[in-house]
């Protein structure tokens, strides 16, 4: 017969002091999730400048003088934005790799090695982020 559990509050942030790989995976997944949903709203807001831009004359669009192109080009011209984009990539890659790890655990794969797969997610995130820096920074100077 299956057993019932009272887990109380699942999110008890004071638990971060007890070092456990799974706890940190949980904290990072939550943090990166909040960043990504926040970014999604910002992203759509910035892309919305395409709505007024679509009314511009063809010549203006071809010259890239419309409000959408100008907004993106000015944002991409800021080094801070480029650095934040690298941060966004790191956040997204971690959330994806750790998410894949969680999906596998839900499917019954790899629960015993969940700590190792968390460390692997961190190392891969670091490697992909570092390898992407030249692409993300290109043309910023």
């Amino acid at each position: 017969m299956s057993q019932s559990y009272n887990r109380g509050l699942i999110e008890d942030f004071s638990r971060w002091r007890e070092f456990e790989a799974g706890m940190w995976a949980w904290i990072f997944h939550k943090f990166t999730g909040w960043v990504l949903i926040g970014y999604l709203f910002t992203h759509i807001a910035v892309l919305s400048t395409a709505i007024p831009a679509s009314g511009a004359e063809t010549a203006v669009l071809q010259a890239g003088n419309d409000v959408y192109t100008q907004t993106i080009v000015s944002l991409e011209g800021l080094l801070l934005v480029r650095v934040l984009e690298v941060g966004l990539l790191a956040v997204a890659v971690f959330h994806m790799l750790n998410g894949a790890r969680l999906l596998l655990v839900d499917l019954g794969v790899g629960l015993e090695s969940q700590d190792k797969s968390f460390y692997a997610s961190l190392v891969l995130t670091g490697a992909i982020t570092v390898a992407s820096v030249p692409t993300f920074i290109a043309g910023a100077f």
């Binding site: 999110e11 669009l61 994806m96 999906l103």
Partner: protein, 123 residues
């Protein structure tokens, strides 16, 4: 009656949707990053290039589906986090419907933007 170990309600339908959208987003988000940062570069973005992609029906549909799944996955994730944190009662209902309203606004605005690029006169 025996209880099952689970923090989820409603027969786990939302739980399953969260995971199905996760699997979809894994692929599409990777594609999105790859296409818009590695194939094309962020500083080369222009209205006409974005419009060129969005005028293709397959790309437009994929991006609308991307918007729908990302909004669901993100907003449902936020809601789950708050519920796990102990959100109950009236506060829970108010926050739930605020999140639903925010999702609707985000999706409508996203589709209006996609339509502006695709030349669909609904924006």
């Amino acid at each position: 009656m025996a209880q099952r170990y689970s923090s989820f309600e409603k027969g786990g339908r939302m739980w399953l949707l969260q995971r199905v959208t996760a699997a979809f987003l894994l692929v599409v988000l990777a594609f999105h990053f790859f296409l818009l940062h590695f194939v094309h570069h962020a500083d080369e973005v222009s209205f006409l290039m974005s419009a060129g992609r969005m005028e293709t029906m397959s790309y437009y549909s994929l991006m609308v589906l991307f918007l729908l799944t990302a909004t669901f996955h993100g907003v449902n994730g936020v809601y789950n986090a708050l519920v796990n944190q102990g959100l109950t009662g009236t506060k829970r209902t108010v926050i739930k419907w605020t999140l639903v309203a925010a999702s609707v606004v985000l999706i409508l605005q996203g589709i209006r933007t996609a339509n502006a690029w695709a030349g669909i006169p609904l924006y």
